[in-house]
């Protein structure tokens, strides 16, 4: 390698690389299930990589490997030193390293999903790590959660409310959640899912396919076309 090797990853512009999609949300809301569902739905048409940020162990990465929805080598696990939000927001170095390793090893890729460790409502991804982000809630946390807001709920590019099949059992009113989310999100999209019933999370997959397509359109190298 030349001493003057020009490292094209130095600048975080998006040219010539995959779209980086962050998936965040509280513990147990279904981030890993959504990641698996997206791999299931999008794997046949897109070149994928996945980075997981387990709170501890490699539980999430192992779940994805066992699910058989993606080549296990295309999943990388990052340890976060007790601070899952630090690893996706304040000090993203290890996650960026993992994303770039996947791109170097398997690239070119279309989409790299970075799944955060379960955290709280204030956790969001740095723009230096994720180009777009999804925040995942579930109905069992109560239908007041969207109203309470927080950066994840209000600012994510897509809010997913998962486990709608449980709504009648936990007394969650989906109409209230939908109305409150629309109010705090100022028109940004909200999708309701039950990944247990729709194992491909098709509405979310369709949204992701759309942003990958527009990303590719905006960031393709003009000199290659």
């Amino acid at each position: 390698m030349s001493a003057n090797h020009d490292d094209h990853h130095d600048a975080p512009d998006g040219h010539g690389r995959a779209l980086r999609l962050g998936i965040g949300g509280p513990v147990g809301s279904g981030k890993t299930a959504l990641t698996a569902a997206l791999c299931r739905s999008l794997g046949p048409s897109l070149r994928l990589g996945v980075v997981t940020n387990d709170i501890y162990t490699t539980e999430d990465a192992d779940f994805l490997r066992r699910a058989g929805v993606i080549d296990p080598d295309r999943i990388m696990a990052v340890q976060t030193g007790c601070c899952p939000h630090t690893a996706i927001r304040d000090d993203i170095a290890a996650n960026v390293d993992a994303v770039e390793t996947l791109e170097e090893r398997f690239g070119p890729l279309d989409l790299v999903i970075v799944e955060s460790g379960g955290d709280n409502l204030t956790a969001t991804f740095s723009r230096g790590l994720a180009d777009r982000q999804i925040f995942v809630l579930d109905v069992s946390g109560g239908d007041k959660v969207p109203r309470k807001g927080g950066p994840g709920v209000t600012s994510a590019d897509l809010l997913v409310v998962n486990k709608t099949d449980l709504a009648p059992m936990v007394g969650a009113d989906l109409t209230v959640m939908s109305r409150d989310a629309a109010a705090v999100r100022e028109g940004k999209p909200v999708l309701f899912t039950s990944i247990r019933e729709d194992r491909g999370a098709h509405s979310v997959a369709e949204w992701v396919a759309g942003i990958v397509e527009s990303w590719r359109h905006q960031h393709s190298h003009s000199h290659l076309s």
Partner: protein, 267 residues
Amino acid sequence: MDGTAAGGPAVNGAAPGMPPTHGLAGLLLLADSRLPAGGHAHSGGAEEACRTGAISGPEDLARFLRGRLATAGRVAAALAWSACVAAHDPKFPDMRRPNSHNTAPDGHAHAADAATAWRLLDAEADARIASPAQRLASRTQGRLLVRTAKRVWPSTALGTLAGAVPDGAHHPIALGAAAQAAGCTPAQAAMAAAYTSVTGAATAAVRLLGLDPVTVHRVLAELPLADLTDSVIAEQHDWSALPAHAAPALDLLAEQHLRTEVRLFVS
């Protein structure tokens, strides 16, 4: 070495003619735990020591940190000092002996020679880290630090180092090169290396055991960071004679940690 490199900036701590604040802003940014270079997820063996019960309170932690500073910390400080001296010297590469230079007729080192010299210094670091797990952790931190520092403080030395050791130079080498790029003196680079050799482990123990953070900061304040740094600077070794203090307990902790199923930290 007389403290200055011909035609280059002063390389020692108390250089005459330098303002007293010289390099300090860079040092503060570089040593800050908020530096976004991945350091927050490394415990330097403290997680495994907490898990096995070797660290259970502030007294154990203080002993652990004193040992870490006197071994891994001392070696890291000397390596960071050497790397910073090398990065400061316009006639780099041949820094195996501080006063011998092997330069092109125009007085500047060829980039290829500089790359060879960086690999040599990195190999000196490699030879001083017995545990493969610690080598891996050191290279990972070095790679992330170089990548971050190249964007924060672009410099020739960092570019050459990144190209010379693309999988990641050892962390103290990266720290020395980054310190030069940040405007620090080699003494400040050595201090940053000594400081980061203990602060990550201390913070990890606070998070894992719920220790009183003020008590732990007092433990840190009582560590002989300045004495250690001063003595490292006073020695000014050739690369091959740099300190090589082994810490078998840290090696074992690192190896066990990598094999532990439940872990929150990378190392």
